[in-house]
Subunit: 353 residues, 2 copies
């Protein structure tokens, strides 16, 4: 059984002292100093996180965590909630966007049932960490109990730990699936960043203007009914969160505790990152933001965390699709660090001045 | 022998009529419509370029074209000109940034001597298309003759055609090596876009403030001494260009003539793209800009061509490094188009409205 407090206790600051040494090494490679920009920044961060001079990026793993949301009753999504289990089956069969992009990147996809509202058929690619059969309708009270919130985070930690101990994880990507889950995400982002609901609520899978107005009103009501404590990550998660969001927060904490870099996908993963950050601020430096989502609350989230996204691709699919592309780029940055010739080894003259 | 006029004659408009059909297909895949943003745009463009419903991205090739520049005499670069042949040897031995990133992307690197100022040792990875032993110092007159300018473009076409006929090319990236080659590139960009030299001249490999002032003055002098005709691509190339820039312009034209998508690397490749565009404007739609370079003239170039870069990574290495990353992303976009399940095949409910 995973324990949240013990996991948090294991999270150290990343080793900032390694940045200078790594930059010197990058400067010895056959290229003008700093000329690989973001790739050099990434390589340094990965060394600081892993404390390895030559970090391995062999075991690349994306966790796509799924859960259902009672709030679908309020008409906040463009899709019916049946799509959550249907997409889980699509994931385990390899037909979804995340499967295609994870294969492209050479990453494994671990699909986790954190709280889908039905029993799923067993499948060897599916990990069951179900906390409950979907959250409650949070306009009427808490989405889940405080115990369930802790359990969702601890189940996320467990999912990471099981894969880490059995097959190994060198880098991890976050991914989500859950019809209506931009609604709890917007609520979380509004509460933690202090921004108005209107400024952090978008069209999710593609709702129209009328549905968007309703969504904003629903989220405002959710917050006023539940009055979560902005400084208590578990309180926020239990009152206005979701099981897959709790699971992803746990995944992020577990990765940091094991010194594994975490590539944060889009908006829902960002909300989970905020919960993880509230539970342990040191976790932030283990994060790399894969992309800047179309969801406007995502930019607010990244600014709050001080993360600069790698890609500006107008993505809004979730599942870990942005994380898969991000892992690919991080891997490239480590190959630059470890595979390039030096000025000396290649017999190339150095800069004159 | 390649012929410039014949190559240009073969360049058709891309097939815009395929965009709608391809978007419909993308909309049938298990994801909200448009939710993969830039990846969907890329997939459509590749279909329009190749006229293939399921484009192959198997033979990925980056041409790194090298040339020397007489203008190095004027102290415009941070590196001595010996670095050009030294880096060519680094390329053929696999130790440079482009080798690392091309391996990451699964692309072949074809290194081409377009005009290095010495005889290079033969190597099976090195293609000799040398026009001359470096350009002349263009503050004193034309960088090359008009005949040499045409030959550099035709040699670039030949390099493409030889690889295309022997091993095949499904997608091509441009890359450059040539100490001081941001100087001719800035001159070309200033002339074609009409922007002042100051606005399109940057620090190249990393020159200091004083050297930058000198570089701007040198480029202004180059332009006033040579007075190139802004509407004649060959005149511009011959008076203020470079052999690798001409070669890359030829490469771009040859790719368009064969309906092969071209991933444009950074600033020097951008200058070559401008020359190719002056020779045949239809070539523009075959181009994808890999990234937005640190060189400020690059943004001016992309705006002029109406190209939106894929990546904002602060790169300024050249060699095709950005193109290698760009090809990786284009390949991902085609896998999305061709490998994802449809709503129907996966049994997933479609959007309600």
């Amino acid at each position: 059984m995973a324990n949240l407090k013990e996991t948090i206790k294991k999270i150290d600051k990343i080793d900032y002292s390694l940045a200078e040494k790594t930059q010197k090494r990058l400067d010895s490679l056959t290229k003008p100093k700093g000329s690989l920009g973001k790739l050099e920044e990434l390589a340094k961060q990965i060394v600081e996180i892993t404390r390895h001079e030559n970090p391995l990026i062999k075991n690349k793993v994306i966790f796509t965590m799924a859960g259902d949301h009672g709030i679908t009753e309020e008409g906040v999504s463009a899709y019916p909630k049946e799509v959550t289990p249907q997409m889980v089956y699509n994931f385990v069969r390899g037909g979804a966007g995340i499967n295609v992009l994870a294969r492209h990147t050479g990453a494994r996809v671990i699909v986790v049932d954190m709280g889908v509202a039905c029993d799923l058929e067993p499948h060897q690619e599916l990990v069951i960490k179900k906390v409950s059969y979907g959250t409650k309708n949070m306009v009427k009270g808490s989405a889940m109990t405080r115990e369930e919130a802790i359990k969702s985070v601890e189940n996320g930690i467990e999912a990471f730990e099981e894969e880490f101990s059995s097959k190994g994880i060198d880098i991890v990507g976050t991914g989500d699936m859950g019809i209506a889950n931009t609604t709890p995400s917007s609520a979380i982002v509004s509460i933690i960043t202090g921004k108005p609901v209107e400024d952090v609520t978008g069209r999710g899978t593609g709702i129209d203007d009328k549905t968007l107005l309703n969504k904003v009103a629903v989220i405002k009501k959710v917050i006023s009914v539940n009055t979560p404590d902005a400084n208590d990550g578990i309180d926020i998660l239990s009152k206005v969160g979701g099981f897959e969001i709790g699971g992803l927060a746990g995944l992020i904490l577990a990765a940091a505790a094991r010194r594994v870099p975490v590539i944060i996908d889009g908006f829902i993963s960002g909300a989970a990152a905020l919960i993880a950050f509230k539970l342990e601020p040191k976790v932030k430096d283990y994060m790399i933001a894969a992309h800047s989502s179309v969801e406007k609350g995502h930019k607010v989230t990244l600014n709050f965390l001080g993360l600069k996204p790698l890609l500006y691709f107008g993505l809004r699919l979730g599942e870990g699709t942005g994380a898969a592309l991000g892992i690919n780029i991080v891997e490239a940055s480590i190959k630059i660090l470890t595979e390039m010739a030096t000025f000396q080894s290649a017999g190339v003259s150095e800069q004159a001045n």
